[in-house]
Assembly symmetry: C2
Homo-oligomer: 327 residues x 2
Amino acid sequence: MQILKPSYAAGVDLGGTTITTVLVNETGRLLSQTKCLTEASLGVDTVVNKIVNSIKEVCGQAHIETDQLTAVGIGSPGPLSTKTGIVIDAPNLNNWVNVPLRDLVQKHFKTNVFLDNDANAAAYGEFWVGAGKGIDNLMVITLGTGIGGGMFIDGKLYRGPDDTSGEIGHIPILLNGPLCNCGNRGCLETLASATGLVNRAIHSLRFGVSSLMMDFCEKDLNKLTAKMVHEAALKGDKLAIELLRETGFYIGIAAAGIVNLLNPEMIIIFGGLSGAGEFLFAPIREEIKKRAFPTPAARVKVVPAILGNNAGAIGAAGIALMEFPPQ
Amino acid sequence: MQILKPSYAAGVDLGGTTITTVLVNETGRLLSQTKCLTEASLGVDTVVNKIVNSIKEVCGQAHIETDQLTAVGIGSPGPLSTKTGIVIDAPNLNNWVNVPLRDLVQKHFKTNVFLDNDANAAAYGEFWVGAGKGIDNLMVITLGTGIGGGMFIDGKLYRGPDDTSGEIGHIPILLNGPLCNCGNRGCLETLASATGLVNRAIHSLRFGVSSLMMDFCEKDLNKLTAKMVHEAALKGDKLAIELLRETGFYIGIAAAGIVNLLNPEMIIIFGGLSGAGEFLFAPIREEIKKRAFPTPAARVKVVPAILGNNAGAIGAAGIALMEFPPQ
């Protein structure tokens, strides 16, 4: 009888604010984790050292050597190239340009390192051991300051030839809508991201619509957050409820197009806003039911992500194990 | 040395008006073809007999027995199930409901028969031996009385779990646009199909905009066709040129979303309207350039289909050979 050795992988979620690192086994079980501040302004070398040390730390916590790792995965803001391992341009990381992040980390380990974008990493986490476990055709929509996504087609992560697939944030929704930071008007991101939600709230509040949100931000609209909109909605605030409904309406329009185009079994909503519950999910489901064909609309489940802040790091480890499977 | 026997497949394109049947070899080379009227009003049995006879005819023309066929493919209007081979509901075929077309044809042959929808069949033809030959990530948009599509992901036809993927005709474009036959407003199909184009032309002509189109249809707007719009545009008619530009604009908006979502290498425009050339293609490319991210926008080529009316039948044969490969 052959005894299989357990496999380990480290996963790093490199965020604009925080680096989250985990150690998992080959089934995605979380064995250890650590967090530190990114401090990208201190330079690439400092960030690389923090990443390397965090990987050593999660291995140490679990009493294994880094040489025992099967693979190391890093999820980073992009755009980036999974083929070259280079971060092409990352405004969120103090404007990194053409940083060969994979190779800079690789130097410190014998184990293979793989770099993918943060949206794919989070999506992979949910696909591998989260809300999408066992689902082959799956779209993950990430709602944060921006809107991104990850796609799974017939059980495989689909990146596209330029690693740019899944950019659902820039699907056109309102042709004459508000300007988006991509230069166009009415993209999903400018309407339905946390930033878009807050901007719509400020617009209404500046017109004098009465709302609890004014108390929550202490009448300083610069302090208003998406979380405050959600909290006001939970207390029955009509404007806040309408703003979340409208957010779900816009996401639902994009989702309906995706349902007609891709016939996914599941759409997972990931990110801070996914906590807004039925305020957000009911209108998403309503627009899909109204706008998509009955058969794929009946098939698709729209659900919140379940892994929370660890999804990106767990997913980065999972992608690395997919790219460099245990021998 | 092993001598490989040549393989043959028959492909049938079952249309509302015409049945087109071809015989091809394993490389997609066209060996023989035939056409007849569908006459779906004469009943299912009659149509099945016409299909069976057309397959015998293309084999006869090439001096082979039907037993020598490796596979038979049929492309039919849908929705249908590729798994059961049943046409679920086909308004274009005298309202067929739950017709087990695959098995009805299968009875007449020893060779395996495969049923897929007509949009996938045409898309497969272009993917296999047409404009998309050698391209792995590909979207085919079919512009006719409706708008459909076929998708290829990493070199494979993607149907989705319900065989409904690729329904780009019902991506929402104008939230308060004209009513679509699906019950929603402003779907791509209601704006940019041949029917949508003619409806927009009639709208303007009834408001008295002067145009050559009035001469072409002999002042009977019921006789106006998409072809007449194109002919008027070729003669410099301003309204016709603007109507085609607007058609391309709407298709371009949907295409930009697809480029951001799927990062395809190529988008092929198939169907009668694809003959409208730069009147249509220039605005499609312009909207993609304007609305999609630079990298995937620079990647994607937007080109017309090249197989013409045989694409569906050749593609049906190709799908059958993919599903039942030569031994």
